[in-house]
């Protein structure tokens, strides 16, 4: 479980041809917690609000200027998730992935898609 949040990282193959369907991997170190836990206050353990709720709420994928995909998540998402999805290489443009967590904080990462000649 990530103690600290680390900026998201994006991995794409270097050998992409035009109109090829390629794979994108995004890793984001972010804790995920429902906020509920066993509260042991030197009394009987009770299931209650233990720590603040924390999870990734949205992942938006842009290809060039266009929003191509939106992943809506809940606190059921794992800690430090790794997302893998596919895109069709239709243009030489940057792929940008934006993360927003439940507190409204925003992170982004991007990489340029260049076709192999």
């Amino acid at each position: 479980m990530a103690k600290n949040i680390r900026a998201p990282r994006l991995r794409i193959s270097r050998r992409i041809k035009k109109d090829q369907v390629f794979k994108i991997k995004v890793k984001f170190d972010h804790p995920s917690f429902t906020g509920l836990g066993i509260v042991d206050d030197e009394t009987e353990p009770v299931f209650n609000r233990a720590i603040p709720v924390s999870f990734i709420r949205n992942m938006l994928v842009y290809y060039g200027e266009q929003l191509v995909s939106r992943f809506r998540m809940s606190s059921a998402i794992s800690d430090d998730p790794l997302f893998t999805f596919k895109l069709k290489a239709v243009q030489e443009a940057p792929v940008k992935v934006v993360f927003v967590d439940n507190q409204g904080k925003r992170w982004e990462t991007s990489k340029m898609i260049k076709f192999k000649k």
Partner: protein, 234 residues
């Protein structure tokens, strides 16, 4: 006299040593590892204990224990290490993220307001439609239609929306949101037909798209019945 006092001294020394050895000696103790997070790595737990304290981990039984919780058997010198110290090390390893499980009284910010970027994405790729279709229930005999809809409601809808439409169905406890209170549509006019038909057909949140399961006439029968449901508190 000297001999007697010497014997007394020896016997006293013997008793003292025996008592001392029984109080402070190498002992084996079982520690029940309770908590939300079980030890992620038995190896890490063992290493941390043996590194931080002068103890020897004999066994970590993760599965077949009487209490159901993992049990750790530790051998230690009770004069050098106390049980509390061992429990502290176990607690630190059990919860590597350092959460302190005490009731959180701070502001409960489960979901902050959507950012502008998210709102744009929602309007582009979200599942809500901008305008619901203008439709009217084609079935004219509403009483017979509601009769048919009642059976279907009890079979398909009541487990989530409740028998009287109050939204507290038996399986609704596991959902992210409570199902709608359907008596809110009691005696509403034809203007709500399209809205209800769209939601029943396409589903929303935890509700499946009933358009795949029920025929169009069956969905209209359901709408006729939903409009007869009354607030149980009335």
């Amino acid at each position: 006299m000297k001999k007697l006092s010497f014997i007394l001294f020896l016997s006293f020394l013997y008793v003292f040593l025996a008592l001392h050895s029984s109080v402070a000696a190498t002992v084996e103790e079982n520690f029940k590892i309770e908590g939300l997070i079980s030890p992620a790595s038995p190896k890490a737990l063992k290493a941390a204990l043996e590194k931080k304290l002068q103890v020897k981990v004999l066994d970590l039984n993760l599965k077949k224990t009487a209490s159901g919780w993992p049990v750790l058997t530790v051998q230690f010198d009770s004069s050098a290490v106390t049980k509390d110290e061992i429990e502290q090390v176990i607690a630190a390893i059990e919860d590597p993220a350092g959460h302190k499980f005490k009731v959180h009284h701070g502001p409960l910010l489960v979901n902050a307001a959507l950012l502008e970027e998210e709102q744009q994405a929602e309007s582009l790729l979200g599942d809500a439609v901008e305008a619901f279709p203008q439709m009217k229930n084609p079935i004219t005999d509403k009483v017979a239609s509601a009769e048919r809809g009642k059976g279907m409601y009890e079979k398909n809808c009541a487990k989530c929306h409740g028998l009287n439409g109050n939204g507290y169905g038996t399986v609704a406890h596991g959902f992210s949101t409570w199902p709608r209170q359907l008596w809110a549509w009691n005696n509403t006019g034809a203007e709500t037909d399209g809205y209800l038909f769209w939601y029943i057909t396409n589903g929303r949140s935890d509700m499946p798209p009933w358009g795949l399961i029920l025929s169009e006439n069956e969905r209209w029968d359901l709408i006729s019945y939903i409009k007869t449901l009354r607030n149980p508190a009335e």
